[in-house]
Amino acid sequence: MNHWYYFVDLFAKVRTTLVEWLQSVDLPSSLIIFIDSIIGIILILLFVFPLVMLFIWMERRFIARFQLRPGPNRCGPLGLFQPVADAIKILVKELIMPAKGDSLVHWIAPVIMFFAALMIFAVFPIGKGSMGVFADLNIGILYVIAIGSLGVIGIFMAGWASNNKYSLIGAMRGVAQLISYEVPMVLAIVGVVLIVGSLQMSEIVGKQTVPFILLQPLGFLIYFIGAITELNRSPMDMIEADSEIVAGYFTEYSGMKFAMFYLAEYINTLAIAIIVTTLFLSGWKGPFLPVWFWFVFKVLAVFLFLLWMRATLIRLRIDQVMAFSWKFLLPMALINVFITAGEVLVWDTWMSGWTSFPWPFIFVNFAIAAVLIIVWAKVFFKLGGGRVEVGRLRARNSQGYGADSQAPVS
């Protein structure tokens, strides 16, 4: 495993070499830890930013192809330098501050968004073993959930400080929506945690002899829908719904402050793609090809799926989104947790001697997921979700000039 192309292992290699060298020159241990973390941060940034640039390029290019147009193709080969051109354009823009806004909060909001987005990357296993993670916390998943919900504060601060009614509506929607979707998302993760029996990210990848999407189809679905909402991506982009509230919470932002929101959005997308890869698609594992290939391939596949949805679907309405969370996803997530807990119990008590992996549960879980979705969709309509039934309205409408009595006709 010493090939140059194991760049993720390079991450571990550089770190160990430097730490050993620092120890040999007899520096105090606290300083060594400090320098080690600085190196780790730089390496993570070197991993995150190129991928984010690739995401921005992919988004513009692929969505253009979905929409029958060529997309950016003037900056470099295949328009690959378009993100660079975008960045330069944004950097030279004037920073505009709304006249009666709260300037301090207006400044801090993008910083909070940006750092909350970056901090998640500390616990992601991007390579093998404990050195493939910057900080292999034993409560990794809990950390991800906690930091992931910090971004809401940035959104609300931005909406509040802008002194703009569109921003305020966007921020209010954001808080309501993100907090609602946090609940089913966490419950969907609980299923995975129950199977693995650990909160540590590297352990979760280590236990996945097959991807957990097979064992947890329902959990994957719930987590993925929640993740789309968390990312404010279409069809759940109520927070920045451009046809309704102009640009939502960042209507009043420009220049680098806007760029931080923009980048934070893509960094969050990358983070969610990595979480989905790690929890449900067996992380960096894969046959034949090197670790980094499988990892990046899976992350890009998840991102491509997000793009596809964005290019295809129509935005929902805020009350429909909330109803979907509380009346559909939450009960499903709870049922999923119960079923998974039961399966783990059954497995540990009776079946663990038979095979090394709970194969039968794959079929059982897919069947349960299909039945549950179909049945609960009916219940969901009863509870007032989904489309409006027009039969009742038609009865009212047919009085006077209606469909049945034809008005002045030729």
Partner: protein
């Protein structure tokens, strides 16, 4: 303790991504729910009706291009018909057929565009719009073939049309008509079988038929409410009585029905076009009309079924070269008057959907 809340006044417009021009709505909100709405017009008022009184009848034709700037053919047609009625001019048969062909092409083009923008306002990220745009582009190419313009056609003349169609026009149009039904089916399947679109549009912004009639709504807006009223059938102009076509109507009058009526109307327009090409006679394309037309004293009103409803021109002549009064009956303005009534109690997102389903262009509303 009771929390004290106060209404939240939001100005949507005049510059807003989905007001399609400069239209302003002063919306009072309770949370996200609309409790009051005050539409404000006039940001694009150009004094067109007054300006027209100082120009000759022929000089006024380009003005009509700038009414609903997306459908110049239909506006031209309504105006020249009013002038012809006023002056008693007989239009050659070929010109009448050409006018039918152009107005039905224009109707398809506009409905494509309005459905595209409608989905865009519902929150699709440009994709349906750009697919619709592809078909519209073919139509615009055809228009360019005929009159050299892509936006303000200025094609109709008093007594006929300005140019005859070039020889390559009919094959291109036939090709378009052959593939268009397939495309309409494709778009309809993509959009109307999508649960999200149904959730967003069904039962939203219901316009009861009696309200629609009282507010003198017309066009797809009225037909979606279930009233079978189409000028092409009710008061046939040109040669529309020679074609076999249906009037699609809705049942409920919600946003979804308006969408559905537009889709069906495109199918009917394709049918009309096919028949019109079959029957297209040879002959003159324009009657002999003096350059400085002096219609006799009197008044005339002519109307056509434009893409949004009954577009009428009311002209009064005092016997001089310029009209004494030049009045537009704008269907878009009249359709817009029910906006407050049908959007109260709905949310901001629904207001945008309802507004998009009314389908206005501010050029015609404000004139």
């Amino acid at each position: 303790m009771e929390l004290k809340t106060q209404p939240f006044v939001l100005n949507i417009g005049p510059s807003h991504p989905s007001t399609h021009g400069v239209f302003r709505m002063r919306v009072t909100l309770d949370g996200e729910v609309i409790v009051d709405l005050e539409p404000m017009f006039g940001y694009l008022h150009r004094g067109m009706e007054k300006l027209a009184e100082g120009r000759t009848y022929t000089q006024n034709i380009p003005f009509t291009d700038r009414l609903d700037y997306v459908t110049p053919m239909l506006n031209n047609l309504a105006y020249v018909q009013a002038v012809e009625k006023l002056a008693g001019i007989k239009v050659p048969e070929r010109a009448e057929y050409l006018r039918v062909i152009m107005s039905e092409m224009m109707r398809i083009a506009k409905h494509l565009l309005s459905i595209g923008f409608f989905t865009n306002d519902l929150g699709a990220m440009m994709t349906p719009l750009l697919y619709m745009w592809r078909e519209r582009e073919k139509l615009v190419d055809l228009f360019e073939m005929v009159c050299g313009q892509r936006l303000t056609f200025n094609y109709m003349r008093i007594g006929g049309v300005s140019h005859d169609i070039p020889p390559e026009f009919l094959p291109a149009l036939k090709k378009f008509l052959k593939e268009m039904p397939g495309f309409i089916d494709e778009y309809d399947q993509l959009l109307a079988t999508n649960e999200v679109l149904l959730m967003r549009t069904k039962g939203v912004g219901i316009l009861p038929a009696d309200v629609a009639i009282n507010a003198s709504c017309s066009g797809p807006m009225l037909r979606a409410s279930g009233v079978k009223w189409d000028i092409r059938k009710a008061d046939p102009y040109l040669v529309y009585d020679r074609f076999d076509f249906d009037i699609p109507i809705g049942t409920v009058g919600d946003v979804y029905d308006r969408y559905r009526v537009r889709i069906e109307e495109m199918r009917q327009s394709v049918r009309i076009l096919e028949q019109a090409i079959e029957q297209l006679p040879q002959g003159d394309i324009c009657a002999k009309v003096p350059n400085l037309l002096r219609p006799p004293k009197g008044e005339a009103y002519a109307r056509v079924e434009s893409q949004t409803g009954e577009l009428g021109f009311y002209l009064v002549s005092d016997g001089s070269i310029a009209p004494y009064r030049w009045r537009v009956r704008s269907p878009e303005l009249l359709n817009l008057t029910v906006l407050r009534e049908i959007s109260l109690g709905w949310k901001i997102a629904d207001l945008i959907a309802i507004f998009a389903s009314i389908d206005i262009a501010l050029g015609e509303v404000d004139r």
